[in-house]
Symmetry: C2
Subunit: 572 residues, 2 copies
Amino acid sequence: KKRNLDFIQLCVNVGFRIVRSLCIMLYYHIGGGWIEAQNSRGEIGLVPEDYIEVIPNPNVGNVASPDLSFFDAYAPASAPGQNQASNGNDPWSVWNADPSGGSNNNWASNPEGTQTGKTAPDPWSSVSQGHPQAYQGPAEDDEWDDEWDDMKSTGGYAESESGDGGGIQRGGAHATSMKISLNKFPGFSKSGPELYLLCKQLTKGKDKLPIYVGEVGPVWFYPETQLDCVVADPKKGSKMYGLKSYIEYQITPSTTNRPVNHRYKHFDWLYERLLDKFGSAIPIPSLPDKQVTGRFEEEFIKMRMERLQGWMSRMCRHPVVSSSEVFQLFLTYKDEKEWKMGKRKAEKDETVGVMIFSTIEPEAPDIDLIEVDQKCEQFSRFTKAMDDGVKEILTVGHEHWKRCTGPLPKEYQRIGKAFQNLSSVFNSSGYQGESTLTDAMTAAGKTYEEIAQMFAEQPKKDLHFLMETNNEYKGLLGCFPDTIGVHKAAIDKVKEGDKLVATSKITPHEKVTMAKRVSVMSYALQAEMNHFHSNRIYDYNRVMQLYLEEQVKFYETIAAKLRQAHGQFTTM
Amino acid sequence: KKRNLDFIQLCVNVGFRIVRSLCIMLYYHIGGGWIEAQNSRGEIGLVPEDYIEVIPNPNVGNVASPDLSFFDAYAPASAPGQNQASNGNDPWSVWNADPSGGSNNNWASNPEGTQTGKTAPDPWSSVSQGHPQAYQGPAEDDEWDDEWDDMKSTGGYAESESGDGGGIQRGGAHATSMKISLNKFPGFSKSGPELYLLCKQLTKGKDKLPIYVGEVGPVWFYPETQLDCVVADPKKGSKMYGLKSYIEYQITPSTTNRPVNHRYKHFDWLYERLLDKFGSAIPIPSLPDKQVTGRFEEEFIKMRMERLQGWMSRMCRHPVVSSSEVFQLFLTYKDEKEWKMGKRKAEKDETVGVMIFSTIEPEAPDIDLIEVDQKCEQFSRFTKAMDDGVKEILTVGHEHWKRCTGPLPKEYQRIGKAFQNLSSVFNSSGYQGESTLTDAMTAAGKTYEEIAQMFAEQPKKDLHFLMETNNEYKGLLGCFPDTIGVHKAAIDKVKEGDKLVATSKITPHEKVTMAKRVSVMSYALQAEMNHFHSNRIYDYNRVMQLYLEEQVKFYETIAAKLRQAHGQFTTM
């Protein structure tokens, strides 16, 4: 009991991460935001309310349940109105005594401590303060809470877009159970890699993920044509007779060329599925933040769309993710029925967490532990170093953005005004032939005003993309500590092999199996790193070229404008 | 007695200006920096010590006197050694009881209140604080006291370069008299314009200054070829067996093409003569400040030379100044004897102050008072407005200079470093083909470091000249309130004409004379304004062209560098 309590406390200290897959069977509100909970092993401990996810019993009637369809845009328009209204008006009602009817919007009351590391503190921290969230300019005070995008009455900024059925029973359920997920916390819970390293039999079936050895080393299987999609045409939709409005984006995959519609919360649902399924092997970058700088809806929508596009493109480019059933469902569902069925199926997927490795089949001989360890260390060093480098660019870029849009244009404008003022003084001299000078001086002044304008607008044309790319990579790199942590935990476990055999914790056969499986994990990590590197080289090549190209244009335009201004002066 | 005392007090309140030409016949040190003095009219009053200039009696043996030759570079090398040493070690000894032997370095103890408005507070003030004195960059703390240029022991920053015989007897002298000059204070002392307006007979002789009416209105007589000169080749000279060193500049006029040597203090002497002689009609800009930013002698000497060149060029361009005897002497003296003789003669010149107008002969009908008044008002408005405009440019330019040499290069350097750091991280990936990206990224980073350097160095190439020109004009414009003040005082006097006749202060004939003479003054002012305008148009045309030309080059070079960096990326 004591240990369990310590464990919960530790979770809190470590930084508001959700530790999944610890099933809580019973619980009592004891006030102050804490719950006394008992898990399936009978252990009792204190759990912060916010860390608990209510998972209704699917056997009690999934689809028909108004609570489950609560956030579903595709739910029948008949019944849910009332439910939405009642729940919408009381977002905190979920923590009342009726967990079976509490629906899933418990996320609503927990903006900070939600799972997935999306809002979790950066494990590599350092540049987080002052770092811009949106590169339409440095972050300002106002945070845009998209309550209009969903419920009017949610209150606070974290509404329940991500909550849409997200908690439905993963991997063996009991009626109304609660789960604390552990798979995002590999360093602590050895259960993660062990689950795979020691599991009796691996999944069999069609969903195998082969790894080949190419020129650069282990690589995923890449399809011949790369999937891509276009996120476009954001439309304001509404339901509840216009009481609630939301934005729907149109996503058109290159394969079918047939658009599907999705709201942000559907993206978030997809993200959750991908994270659950692939997170241990593949860094799944967070979705764009819910809160984004920009006072105007239009700007916000544009920015979110741009970032959703970026996120989708990255997912499309990943051979494993893009070919997964859930991703395909998201892009190609034909009707609401198919979507809903697919959702249910995806939510029931048991090959999640570390079990994804059970589907990976490297077509190459096993690697020994030393090499596995070396590779892992190398990737760890590299991603950490790159994270630092990326954050440096973001910091510097942020400063540059501020200067280019703040003091610099002001200064060029003042120079322009000073020339024009002096010119107009000259014009008042009454001296003949004055205009030969003053016309040219006024033009020069106006040119500097134009240059001021150019400076202010330039960052949107070049720095923006450099920042967006680096911001994307910052997000991606933020996933690596977890992914690499799973590997390190597995390596540690295998290193203990002899001891575990000696103390009869595992059989000698299991030790051999563990070694083989950690080799599979290493292949997966290497394939993923190679995927990362090739994308990185492509992305940085592209964005650096774009940046420099626009910078060249910028300075050339300034030079041309000044040349023209110079030409207005008469040679004397 | 009371009135005279009030007058002196007023001088002090008004702002530390020297009011010249009040001869003090007797004086007593009464302590606290005050002297009780009696002027030639027998009036007694209190005079601040610092306002008093000791003028030795030339009849007591000018040249032979070791005190007078004290600061003279051309003094015989035989005797003065001792004197210099003794005086040099005690710069304050001048205020002891022996005025006849006190030499002229009384200026030394009075850095603030010296005459001529050179260090006087700006009458149009406003931008004086924070305004850079040297445009090799914004002014820093350290003031360069050029004691090595003259006496080692002077102490404080205002050594006596300007004191070289500068006080010798102007306009009728008595043995050891003191003078408080009034001609720089026309608004207060009506004696200035009256002296000319009412003087019995005008100077006759060869030194007539004609004014013609040209296309633009009244103009000075311009010589067919414009005088010019080159100030170059600063050389460190020394005297007293190397104990004292100074810088000598070589000045080569375009007329003789024969170089003459002068030290700063000779320029200052010339300035004093020109100010005395022409200051009422022609704005004589101050010499470059003695104290200039720059920690290194070389930089200081270069800057001073550049500014002396600018000052000399402006004087050369002025038809009246450049053709004057004293200016010609300065540029073309053949030997020390000629120089010394010429100096003595110039210092005895009686056509100084407002009396310069007595030499002016407009070849045009008299102008009526209304027009004279209007013109004067117009020039006053214009010069005031231009002064504001020029100061605005100086302020803005100063800010720009600071940004271009401070934060901007730092920022571009940080951008460059950030690119290079990320590039070197990429290089550590171990991924093959990495160098295609990293070489280009490193080059891009280096390019931004080069751009940083360019930004830091650019102001010296363009802004410097814009600032220098505007600084020159600021100095020139600072002379106008005095020059215009003389005219306004004259106009006021003429306006009083009827009243003065009625009260028998003047005769009707004198009233007519006054009106004629104020018309002459107006012609002079108009000729001067037209000279000013034509030079201004030329100067601003030139400097704006130079500025824009360099700016174009600057931005084009940046664009070219970035284009090259861009070219290093491979198209993918």
